[in-house]
């Protein structure tokens, strides 16, 4: 069975683009357009990877969703990629154990397909 990715982003075009990229590699992709429904879908379907946008309805909605996800027993170890158009590449290290930003990786928007695929594969293992 193919691995499942959940994309949480309020921009439907971004969702569509990321979906196209990941589906081309055979992943099964589900999506949500806000934090709340994203959290619900994650709890429901237990995906293998979650891609979270930082800025949705509020400035830090994605970060708060990530913190919530880490508190769910079944989702604690699901890798999270956070995406945002921060405008600057920073040399930060990401850790799923971080208290404030408990994510595994950061991918700057607009995502470069090859980069997204390599980060996703590294976190989930190949499909």
């Amino acid at each position: 069975m193919s691995k499942r990715v959940l994309i949480v982003d309020d921009d439907p075009d971004i969702v569509e683009a990321e979906k196209l990229i990941l589906e081309s590699r055979g992943y099964h992709v589900d999506s949500a357009t806000d934090g709340e429904s994203g959290l619900a879908k994650a709890m429901d379907s237990k995906p293998d990877l979650i891609i979270l946008d930082v800025m949705m309805t509020t400035m830090d909605e994605g970060i708060r969703v990530a913190q919530q996800l880490r508190r769910q027993p079944g989702l604690k170890h699901v890798p999270i990629i956070i995406t945002t158009a921060i405008g600057q590449v920073t040399s930060l290290k990401f850790s799923p154990d971080d208290e404030i930003l408990p994510v595994d990786a950061f991918v700057e928007k607009p995502v470069k397909p090859a980069h997204l695929i390599s980060v996703a594969e590294a976190l989930m293992g190949g499909n």
């Binding site: 990321e18 196209l20 990229i21």
Partner: protein, 476 residues
């Protein structure tokens, strides 16, 4: 219309003539000189009324009315001359300094002649007995407004000297006394009335002069305060507008680029070579628009003072290393060798890590962008007297000498840079300079066209090199 576009300053109209708005001091001086002439017309009228009134109503029979009336006539003629001269000065096209000099000379002549005439008038109407000697005050006040402080003191000295000379000449009998009041045990009612009138008119006129000046100053001050507020509002509106535009523009461009890249990935094989190439080009164009938008946002943040909210110790060597890591592939693809040179000791600077990262990013990406294949870009740090010095040296196209003074201006791109590559927003160096200045440092450039460019950034080293940490990115 959204409220940030409704600038108060823009909607107001100023009905003054452009020349007055451009040169308020000139307008001000011209007006004061006219005022001076008007006062003299009033003085002549005053004398013409005072002489018969003094003689026939107040019974001050010794007044030398013939001499005084002659003097008044002389003053009247002089004032006609002044009025004509004032008009001619006003009409002549002069620059600010020449105009100030002409007015200064004109006013000085008037004041000196006025003091002489006033002294003569006093002499012919009682000398020491005449309480209108207070009227010297007006000339001192006028000189204080219109001339320099030094000249005003000279006028005070001149007034004192003229009055003293008159008194001494009278005292030693060198000129004959013209008493209006016989020396007696008590003063006549007329003399008392004249004295009261003299002191009263001096005091009230003094207040009128002083208050009309302060009122003018207060009005000016209020105008200046308003102008300053307007400028600040306008600046804030401009920056708010920039931020909004940048934010709203970023999302669709990010979406466009994401879709194009996803399409390229999945459909390039069925599009054929030309189609795939066009898709690539579209993506690159979206990317340069995105860079421009981000740079505008950064510049707006720097201008509103909302940039660099964080000030923390930053390990510049680590920051530079990881920043250069991201340029390796690009440099290799372009056939440029990228060299690094670091000191053994750490270079820790206090500032915002995101901004400092952007500074290095901007300088290095510029160096790579404007260096042809086979060239070299060297990035190095050294420590000099508690200052960290970063140098970014390239063997690129260089900057034309004539354009060196303006390379840090917003949107500036050198002529040869535009020819060399279409990419580049012209904002990178403006942003870099802002970042360096905010961190208390300096940025310098030296360049030879066709040979290469060296950017040198000097930043103060943090007082206590604490643990250099890094901050999570802020979504925007």
């Amino acid at each position: 219309m959204p409220d940030y576009l409704q600038g108060g300053a823009m909607s107001q109209t100023d009905e003054r003539a452009p020349s007055e708005l451009l040169n308020p001091r000139k307008a001000e001086l011209t007006e004061r000189v006219e005022w001076f002439i008007v006062l003299r017309w009033m003085a002549v009228a005053g004398i013409l009324v005072a002489v018969p009134a003094g003689k026939y109503i107040l019974k001050l029979e010794n007044i030398a009315e013939v001499e005084i009336l002659l003097l008044a006539t002389f003053l009247l003629l002089l004032n006609c001359g002044y009025a004509l001269a004032a008009r001619s000065i006003h009409r002549r096209e002069m620059d600010g300094e020449a105009h100030d000099r002409a007015i200064g000379l004109f006013v000085s002549i008037q004041i000196v002649l006025d003091l002489l005439i006033l002294t003569a008038l006093l002499h012919f109407s009682g000398g020491i007995q005449n309480p209108f000697s207070f009227y010297y005050v007006f000339h001192v006040v006028l000189a204080s407004i219109l001339l320099s402080r030094r000249s005003a003191f000279v006028v005070a000295g001149l007034g004192t000297s003229l009055y003293s000379i008159m008194l001494l000449l009278e005292h030693f009998g060198l000129v004959s006394l013209r008493p209006i009041e016989p020396v007696a045990d008590s003063y006549s009612t007329g003399y008392v009335a004249v004295s009261i009138l003299a002191i009263g008119s001096t005091l009230f006129f003094g207040v009128y002069m002083a208050t009309s000046i302060t009122a003018r100053l207060q009005k000016k001050e209020a105008e200046l305060a308003k102008a300053l507020r307007d400028v600040r509002d306008l600046e804030a509106n401009k920056s708010r507008f920039l931020m909004l535009v940048s934010h709203e523009m970023k999302s669709p461009i990010v979406a466009v680029r994401s879709i194009l890249d996803a399409l390229y990935l999945t459909s390039k094989d069925c599009l054929g070579q030309r189609g795939a190439q066009m898709l690539r080009r579209a993506s690159e164009r979206a990317d340069s628009l995105l860079t421009l938008t981000k740079d505008l946002l950064t510049l707006a943040r720097q201008q509103t003072g909302t940039a660099d909210a964080v000030a923390m110790p930053v390990d510049m060597l680590n920051l530079t290393r990881s920043c250069l890591q991201l340029f390796r592939t690009q440099a290799e693809q372009r056939g440029i060798s990228l060299r690094e040179d670091y000191p053994k000791a750490p270079v820790t600077v206090t500032g915002d890590p995101n901004s400092l990262n952007m500074l290095i990013d901007n300088l290095v990406s510029n160096a790579i962008r404007y260096t042809p294949a086979g060239g070299q870009v060297s990035v190095g740090w050294r420590v000099e007297e508690r200052r960290g010095v970063l140098s970014v040296v390239d063997t690129g196209i260089g900057i034309p000498e004539a354009e060196m003074p303006i390379i840090f201006q917003d949107f500036f791109r050198a002529q040869n840079a535009k020819k060399f590559t279409a990419s580049g927003t012209g904002l990178g160096l403006a942003i870099a300079k802002n970042i360096v200045e905010r961190a208390g440092g300096a940025i310098n450039v030296s360049s030879v066209e066709g040979k290469g460019t060296t950017f040198t950034v000097t930043l103060p080293i943090a007082a206590t090199p604490g643990k250099a940490t890094q901050e999570p990115p802020q979504g925007d």
